[in-house]
Structures are given as C-alpha cells and as structure tokens.
Point group: C2
Chain length 336, copies 2
DNA sequence: CATTAGCAATGTCAAGTTTTGAGTGCTAAA
DNA sequence: TTTAGCACTCAAAACTTGACATTGCTAATG
C-alpha cells in the first residue's frame, strides 16, 4: 500500500465513523488535491486488497473488517493517551470516599455515555481472594445465616436450618473451628481443605456428623464463583443508525439478556482486545465490535472493562479510554 | 349492552389477543349463527359505546382500552384459579431447599416465558425489617468492613478506614454497644435511635467522637432503603408484533433501562392492579399494560410481582397467574 | 506512466401510481 | 330484527418513474 492509499483508507474510516454514510470519491478529492478519478483508481486498488467495500455497485465505499483492523493497528495504536477530555473520569476516580463498586459503576456509565455504546464491567472471579471471616447469625430458633467475607470485602450468605439436636454451644464451636481453619485460605481451596481436615485431623469429630452445615458453607463459598458484572447503556446504543434494522436490534437485546455477550468478552488475554464483527465468532454479533481490556487484582485474578458497539465505532476515542479506565480500576483493586 | 353484544366483545378481545389482527364481521359470523351484516350492526353499537375501535375506516375492529377494561372486569374476574397449567410453578415453589431469592427469580423467569412479557419482582422495602446483628470485620490494619444483617437474612456492608488513634478494643466495644442498642430495631428507626442515644445517654462518651464510624453505619443501614428487584424477559416480549415499530421498541428499552418502569408499578394498592395503556400516565407506556400484584411480608412491608406487556395481552392467563405467584411469594416471606 | 476529463452504466431512494383485497355502512327486502 | 347486496374506503403491496450519487472504463494529457 502506498502512503496515499493508507491516507485514503484512514479518511474513509474517519469519515464513515462520523457520518455512517458510504464515502464517495468526490468527497475525498476535495481534501486530497487530486481529481475524483484518481481517488477512484486508488479506491479500486484498496478494494482489491480487501480494506474497503461497497454496499452496492454504485455506492461509495465503507471500511471492511480488514480495513478497521488495519486502522486500529496503525492509526489508533500511535495515539498517545490524551487525558485532556477525561476530566469527568478523573473526578470519578479521584473520589477517595466512595466504595469501589460505586466508582466502577459511575465510570462505566460515563464510558457508555461518552461513546454511545453499551459498557460492561465484569468483576474479577473471586477464586483467589482469601477468606477473612466466617460467621453465623441466628435469625430465629430454627434458622440461621451463614456469612463468608473475603479480603476484598465481598460478602456472601446462605440461610440454614438449625436442627433441633444442635445447641448454640456446638454451633459456636463449629464456627470458631472453621474460622481458625479457613482464615486466609483462597476461596478455590476451601472445599478441598475442609474435606481434608474432616478426614484426617482430630477436628473431624466436631464436623463429621454435621454434613448439612458443612455443605451450606461450601455453597456459600461457591457463590463467589459467579462473577459480579455491571452492564449499562443499551439505550444509548440503540439509537445508532446500525440498529434501524429491527431484527438486528432484537437480536442484540436478546444476546445481552441471555448473557451470551459474556462468551465474547475476552477475560484471559492480557491487556486490550478488539474483536470486530465476525471475529467474534457469534453470528448474532457479526456486525458488532467488542473492545475489552483486562486488569489485575492483587490476588491474581483478572477483571475486564468492555465496550460493545457497532463496527463503525470511534476507535480513536474508545481504545485509549478503555485502557485508561482499566488502569484506574486496577488501582482500586491494588489498594487492599 | 345486550348479551350478544357482550359475547361479541369477548370474542373480539379473545381473537385479537390470539392473532394481533383486527377482527372483521365475517370472522365472527362464522361462529355466531347470524350474518355478517347483523354483526356489523352490533359492532357499530359497540363502537358507539366506546368498547371497540377501528384502525382505519374500512378495517376490522380491535378492543379499545375501555373494551379491555370491561373484559377484565367481567370475563377475567369470573375465572376460577385454575392450577392445572401451573405444574412448573408448583415445582419451583415446592422446593424447600432453595433460597427465597432464587425461587423468586425462577418463578419470575417462568412467568415471563409463559406470557411472553417482561416480568418484574420488586422486593419489599426493608424499612420495617429489624436489625439482627451488627458486625465489624477487619480486612487489614487500616481497613474494616461493617456488616448489618436483618431478620430476613439480608446483609449490607460498608467499608471503613480505621483511624490510627483507634485500637481494636475500642472498636469491639463500639460494636458490642451498637448490637445491644440496635438489636430488633426496625431499620427505619435506626438513625433516629442512634442519634438520640448519643445525645441523651451515658453511652455517648464512647460514640461521640467517632462520628465517622457512626456515619458509616448509618450509610450501611440506608442501603436497605433501595429495594431489590429482578427484571427479566425483555427479549421474550420484543418479538411481539406490537414492537415492529422500531421507535416504540427503543422507547420501551429506554424506559426499562432508566428504571422509569418502576414509577408505574403500583406497590401501594392492596392486591392486583391492572393498568392499561394511557391509564399508566407515562406517555412512553401508552401502548403497554402493566399488571401488578402486591404481597405482604411478616414485617408489614409490601413487595410486588409485575408483568409488563402489550395491551393485547392474554389477561385470562396472566391475571390469575400473577395472583398465584404473589400468593406463593408471600408464603416465602411468612416463614420467618 | 500517473493523472484526469468525460461519459455510460448501475443501483438507491423517494415519490407517485395502480391493483388488490378485506372490510365497512347503508339500503331495501324478507 | 335480520339479511343480501352493493358502493365505498383504506392499507398494503407491487410497480413506475425520475433524480441523484457514484462507479468503471476509455481516451486524452502532461
């Protein structure tokens, strides 16, 4: 590709992102100081190379997926992070009072508004967080509530029925024992450890005949396995011209509602990932771009920030913005 | 209205609910043993009375809001609760192991699927539930987590920073004091009571200079004020022909996303409430019917189960079903 | 050899027209 | 009171037309 061809490709992407209309040779000839015929020749080459395409025989050109990819690999990657426009985000992240989850929600809301896309925060899986405390609260003579708290301050609870042949003393002992046993154990190791102790140590006497209780605890722990997520801005996105097709719109809403969207979000890959259209593998998302960035928590888990929008997305704005937000959320998870 | 007119109105509602197409005189004449001309005369009267309307001069008739209202006041009210088709619901509600919130979610999911509408469970406001226990968990030398647990087993938490000039002993004392003070106090009275005690009793010494802590507690309590809700089935509903109009669809999604829908749900009125179209007062919902039923919890708060769908809704099915579900959720809240 | 002017060809879009069919309202007769 | 019959209405679908944007190609140009 010649320099001029690259320039034309960039212009087509930028202009199409702005207007959502195919770009003709005349439009570009006004800016580049060559005739429209020359542009047409160049466009023809770009089309042969697969970077742009036509919507019909006599239409202007729009970027192909390959074109977008080239664009983000070259143009967008060279953009310096420009925090000039990030005033409102800075405000959110500099609030030291607010809770982490609240800050994340606010940032995600703003991300969606700023980009007119759907924004998603997928919290870290809590598998590696450590048990801080285990607690039983009696709610009535026959009912209790098991509480499990992790180092990040997440709490899960599970109701249990207290059997008649069990007195408060015994329960207290069990809880004390569990606290001693499980403190600072990663969630992922809890079940294993519990079963091991019951089998092999002297503690077993206390727990052996109380399988119901132990099972309830394990159930409470397992609740941490479900990741916490926050999703917002469907409404912002629906007014994009891409969604004038009613069936696409319905398909998109369905994909969001049955959580299929989470299959696409790449929470493994380090750093930023951009999946354009069919790169998503899910047919319902073949006209959608998903940008995600992971961040790391102190206990070695990964969370992600994602943006879901039309392929025709303002990548120059969105990509650095997501990087910026992921970086700041990571900071929130570092301050333990 | 003559008996035959009522019969015709019912047929129009039933048929329109089924097909979503205006009903012509010929269709009805096949069932009733009179000619289409006779039906036309009767329809003309029904239209003058305001029970049915035309979509254009030469179209068949569809029920008006007044027509639907008449229908649900007469036809639907006489339907005996018929638990024949409720097999799957019975299964959900008879599961004694599962947690209340899980059962409610499953029932709401099924409600949405069975009716092709959006279903919502709006949990009771926790204002009247009672404090069961207050707890502090230390997460690090400088950070802690305040826990507040109510009699229904709901937990709210709030992170706090532990100041340097405060030792563990003092904290323990504060927590013990708060437990003693607040146990069995309704959430709504907590703030008032705390402030009163600080001002008037000997306890004040311990809390007086610890406003930050007390404020954090109050903040944790105030989290209960936000009702818990569960909303599902947008996707089920969007495929109804009513939503072939793309702007209506967008408007609906927006209304759901900014939680405006909750303004419509009647959580005060005892029992069932059906709001058809413009009865909803919100213009975005003028083609939507919202059915809600409240239920009572043991501590005197009300929760609601709601169904949001097109005016052309299967009221005969939906109304008894919602009553049935509300009744069973209420049972879940009675077994304290 | 790259660039350009010129022009036929192509396809979209919006506006207008025609056709079809379902359904009504009215009238006069049974 | 009911019905047959018929003119009338309107929406929806199918088709027509013209304006417009844009392309691809060709031949001329510097």
């Amino acid at each position: 590709m010649t320099e001029r061809q690259v320039k034309i490709l960039k212009m087509i992407v930028d202009e199409y992102v702005r207007t959502a209309e195919p770009i003709g040779s005349k439009t570009l000839s006004k800016v580049l100081k060559v005739s429209s015929a020359t542009i047409r020749n160049e466009m023809s080459i770009l089309e042969d190379l697969g970077y742009i395409e036509k919507t019909h025989t006599s239409s202007g050109r729009i970027p192909s997926e390959k074109g977008y990819r080239y664009y983000i690999e070259t143009v967008a990657k060279t953009i310096e992070e420009d925090t000039d426009g990030y005033f409102e985000f800075e405000e959110i992240f500099s609030n030291k009072e607010a809770e982490r989850d609240i800050i994340i929600k606010e940032a995600i809301n703003l991300l969606s508004e700023a980009t007119n896309c759907t924004a998603i925060s997928l919290g870290p899986n809590a598998y590696n967080s450590k048990v801080k405390k285990v607690q039983l609260v009696q709610l009535s003579p026959t009912h209790g509530l098991i509480l499990v708290i992790t180092n990040y301050g997440y709490v899960e609870s599970k109701e249990i029925t207290i059997e008649q042949n069990m007195d408060v003393d015994e329960l207290t002992k069990i809880i004390d024992l569990l606290n001693e046993l499980l403190k600072d154990t990663p969630i992922s190791k809890v079940s294993e450890k519990l079963h091991y102790e019951i089998e092999h140590n002297q503690i077993k006497e206390l727990l052996k005949y109380r399988e119901t209780i132990v099972d309830s605890f394990i159930e409470a722990f397992s609740k941490f396995a479900q990741s916490r997520y926050y999703l917002t801005g469907q409404a912002n996105m629906l007014y994009q011209p891409e969604f004038n097709d009613i069936d696409k719109l319905r398909e998109f809403i369905s994909t969001i509602e049955n959580k299929e969207i989470f299959k696409i979000i790449d929470s493994e890959k380090e750093g930023i990932s951009v999946k354009i259209g069919t790169e998503n593998q899910v047919t319902a998302m073949k006209d959608i771009t998903v940008i995600s960035s992971t961040y790391d928590t102190a206990d070695g888990e990964k969370g992600t920030v994602s943006l879901v929008g039309p392929k025709r997305m303002d990548y120059r704005k969105a990509i650095p913005l997501i990087k910026y937000i992921a970086k700041h959320i990571q900071k929130l998870y570092e301050e333990e």
